[in-house]
């Protein structure tokens, strides 16, 4: 089996600190990390490899420093890291990202399965996976919580939804996005880390892919960020005081009064 895992480097924290006086964003050197959801995607690919044999590619689009998250993925058990990096890829929205990744994936050739994390923790859009599947014109199944069986070019899975779960059959080749329920990612082994340090990461630039310049990066992005701002959460917290008994009494009255308003 040939499996491709999509990997993104994201800021290590989502905390946005603001200067209380000027209400401007304070930035420190925030370390970059592997998108937490991608750890589940990598783990699931490695588990499939252990069960039935597979070759796993990890592909990322990002700045040159994103090499580091590919090394992490290599230490965890993927076989080859590919970094798509070029100024012509910068400023991409989800559509341009999906297009660019699709070109990198076409370069790999035939594959059976693409695994993505449900979403990246910086943008939280959950759009690149489904958009990539559409661009490659393959099956898409989002929010997979369990792979039950892979057989005869079909994958039997569980998908988590707003209403519960769906048991589904997915025709391969397919792209799935996975949620954290699917597995418990392992820690890298010492041997894996050694291998990863020495491993060569393929660098793919714009000129290496047969891409339309008008569809990558900022040029290829229909959406534009017009403004960003820090939301103001001005909450007046009323503390309910008293003995434990009194607190319970007051809160119970409060809850019931709020209940009355609606029903």
């Amino acid at each position: 089996m040939k499996i491709i895992v999509c990997i993104k480097q994201v800021p290590g924290t989502n905390e946005v600190k603001t200067d209380p006086v000027t209400n401007t964003i304070i930035r420190e050197n925030i370390p970059a990390i592997l998108n937490p959801f991608d750890a589940y995607a990598i783990e699931e690919a490695v588990r499939i490899k252990e069960r039935r044999g597979a070759f796993i590619y990890g592909i990322s689009m990002g700045i040159p420093a994103a090499r580091e998250v590919l090394r992490e993925a290599l230490a965890l058990g993927i076989d080859k890291g590919i970094l798509m990096t070029d100024r012509k890829f910068a400023g991409a929205d989800t559509l341009a990202t999906a297009y660019t990744l699709s070109k990198g994936i076409e370069r790999i050739g035939d594959f059976d399965l693409i695994i993505c994390g449900r979403q990246a923790t910086d943008g939280d859009t959950a759009q690149v996976g489904p958009s990539l599947a559409r661009t490659l014109n393959i099956t898409c199944a989002t929010d997979i919580s369990r792979i039950i069986e892979i057989k005869n070019k079909e994958m039997h899975c569980l998908k988590i939804t707003d209403d519960g779960y769906e048991e589904i059959l997915v025709k391969l080749p397919a792209l799935i996005t996975v949620v954290k329920e699917i597995n418990m990612p392992r820690l890298p082994s010492i041997k894996g880390m050694k291998l990863a340090r020495r491993a060569e990461i393929d660098i793919v630039r714009f000129d290496d892919i047969k891409a339309d310049e008008n569809r990558t990066g900022l040029k290829g992005s229909p959406t534009r960020v017009r403004k960003v701002f820090v939301p103001v959460h001005q909450v007046e917290t009323s503390m309910i005081e008293g003995t434990l008994e009194e607190k319970a009494q007051k809160l119970s009255e409060l809850l019931l009064s709020m209940g009355m308003e609606v029903k």
């Binding site: 989502n14 400023g91 939280d124 959950a126 707003d162 403004k227 503390m239 319970a248």
Partner: protein, 394 residues
Amino acid sequence: MDGIDIIKDKCVGCKACFVACPYGAIEFVEKKAVITDKCTLCGACKESCRFSAIVSEMDYRQGSDLSRYEGMWVFAEQRYGKLKPVSLELLGKARELAARLNAKVTSVLFGYNIGFLARDLIAYGADQVLMMDEEWLGDFNDRIYGELITNLVKEHKPEIVLVGATSKGRSLAPYISSSLKTGLTADCTGLSIDDEGLLVQTRPAFGGNLMAEIVCPHNRPQMATVRPKVFKPLEPDYEKRGIITRIQKEPIEGLVKLIRNIDNAEGQSLTDAEIIVSVGRGIGSAANIRLAGELADALGGVLASSRPLVDMGWMPYSRQVGQTGKTVAPRIYIACGISGAIQHLAGLADIDTIIAINQDPEAPIFKVANYGIVADVKEFLPLLTEKIKQAKKA
């Protein structure tokens, strides 16, 4: 550098761009802005500059005949013949936006034996319903539904397409936008029309710590998925008239086959819940979770949890609220023994009232709570449940 450049002569060093840049990619050298390698070309700086000193390549586009696109579309999501509340919320918002654009509101309704829902869509704000009622559309399938809507959009050319940011909507919308090669903004919490008639889409980023306003200036339709419970539906008006158009198309083959639905128990959906009682580490043991469950039952609410309890195997993942779990927007959220880490707060959307119960008066959850109680949840919850039961009897 490709993309964004500073015209040095025009830059006055006011630092407005420095403030606007979410990536810390602007530095000042000799009181002039300089763009560093951290730049992602998001364009936020350009918008902030009052001196036209920032230029970018972004001012190009196919923008040929956008005026041919008109009207607002809302995808009507239904399950077992019941409309999702978010679809009705979107119809209400679409009406308001359509009034500004002098446009019509169309709802797209697919399924099997769902014809009766078209009246509801009109009552809640649609002028027109495009409906396909076919056996092969009985189960939602993003490829089948997506392909059909893509073709309808090509035919009718709506200016704006809105989809609820439900689990289904969030896989359907990217199918359509990618097929049409247009923009899509995920999980919006605000929508408005600007002076140029563009749809301004506001959405949280960085786990809700930053808000972004996004536009899609040169491609049509402008598409967004919108978070449930952000907008209020209109009062339904069953006197209102509208056009219901039945459409027939050749069946399309899906690549994902539904074997069966494994539904949560009735009224257990976190995303639809009005009252959520959520437990965190302060509950102490897996056995104590029942104390919060009893409170949830007494209030007619749903039980949820923070991440540590799921990681320890005390609660199922489907109950997890937060960035790596579900985003919820109940009317009342009662956080029991939850410290309020930023990742947890990212899962709290538009909540009218947050009540926090925590032993630690310094817990960050109190900063976002409307009401706070410093108490040990293990002792406090049984008392509270008892008080509520008594009051209900009275």
